[in-house]
């Protein structure tokens, strides 16, 4: 570390002379080093997909990086996953409180803002560290399908399609080129697979891929099972060969 930054990367509450909060930037770096997570809207809902490397003897049917917050809201995380569990639990409590107080399911932006508010507080107080995780929040509410990204700084931004984690720059570039509004679930699912294969070592199996869908009709999050996942892989391969010709 250069002497110019000496001391300024220790306490999170202290700005460096050039106006930066190093601890927050380091936290965002943690997210960059996490495994890939993507969120994509389609014309009847929203998809969450993650790359999740499982060891040979690991029980892989338990998803580590996709969480359910409420019936109609899900989260995909990249970065330091234990921090995601804490944030997700906070979000679950917030969602149930909304039902308790207003007798209504919470809107997705409300949850995004609530998570971001907490993240922001952890950039300002002494004795705490920022969350080392970014969350893609997907859900369905009265505004339709909705997708938000929260990061360790406390920023929250809405997206049509978004990628975080290792290789997300490459994936974002790809999505900005090839994502279209109002695509079908099948197209969207295969696009999510393509996005993960773009940066994954394993470009054939579904072993390292986990996916969840929230549909605007059912307003309920569901896990995408292997069979359906395979069908999206097939579609992704078809598109790839079509492009190659």
């Amino acid at each position: 570390m250069l002497p110019a930054a000496a001391g300024y990367d220790r306490a999170i509450t202290v700005f460096s002379p050039d106006g930066r909060l190093y601890q927050v930037e380091y936290a965002i770096e943690t997210v960059r080093r996490g495994t890939l997570a993507v969120g994509l809207k389609y014309n009847g809902g929203v998809i969450l997909a993650v790359e999740e490397k499982t060891r040979k003897l690991q029980i892989s049917n338990v998803t580590q990086k996709i969480f359910q917050v409420d019936d109609h809201i899900g989260v995909a995380a990249a970065g330091y996953i234990p921090d995601a569990r804490s944030q997700v639990d906070h979000a679950r409590f917030f969602a149930q409180s909304n039902r308790l107080i207003y007798d209504e399911p919470v809107d997705v932006e409300g949850v995004a803002k609530n998570i971001a508010d907490m993240a922001q507080q952890f950039t300002q107080y002494a004795g705490v560290r920022p969350f080392g995780v970014a969350l893609i929040l997907a859900g369905v509410d009265e505004t339709g399908a909705s997708l938000f990204l929260t990061d360790p700084s406390g920023t929250y931004i809405g997206y049509d399609a978004v990628a975080i984690g290792a290789g997300s720059d490459q994936v974002t570039e790809y999505l900005e080129k090839s994502y279209k509004m109002d695509i079908s679930l099948e197209e969207c699912g295969s696009l999510a697979i393509e996005s993960i294969y773009l940066v994954s070592e394993d470009k054939n199996s579904t072993r390292n891929i986990k996916m969840a869908v929230i549909d605007t009709n059912t307003k309920t999050m569901r896990k995408v099972l292997d069979e359906e996942l395979e069908s999206y892989v097939k579609l992704a391969k078809q598109r790839e060969t079509a492009k190659g010709q």
Partner: protein, 194 residues
Amino acid sequence: MTTIVGIRTKEGVVLGSDRRASKGFFIGSKITQKITKIDDTLAVAIAGQLSDADYMVKLVKAERNLIELRRGFPVTVKESARLIANQAYAGLKNYQPYFVELLVGGVDQEGGHILVADMSGAITSEEFASSGSGSPIAYGVLESIYHKDMTNEQAKEIATKAVAAAMERDPGSGNGIDISTIPNLSLIVKERRR
């Protein structure tokens, strides 16, 4: 005031209620819904202070959702009744009791359950139960014609008869009958949805 009944069958559970909400000697409402759905596998029949019961039901809904999301598998009927009873007990010990007696009816992996949770925080598991001012009359009917190995259809008939008899003689009950059935099958529907 009120008459509510709950019957456990081999196929699930049946809950029944009248529709009268009393305000002293005045009929406050003739179309009160006293059976509240918590989800596809659980419902609560309410006797007592409606506001207290509504609050307890709302809280148990939120708690059940949180527990299920956190631990990853559903909350049983008995656990749900315990959540309600814990609230009732805390209320009693703080000299702010919830003036309710609730029939908790639902299905889980073990089948159908009828549990009675009262304002003292006690829970009892029953084959059939009744509560409210009309309950002595309803019990008379239930005791004489209830038998084990009933179908839900038969239980619906008996629940209707019990509430109807209570409405004939109890001034706190009347204005029609509501019957709800929770078949064991609804558990499968719920699991498939997840």
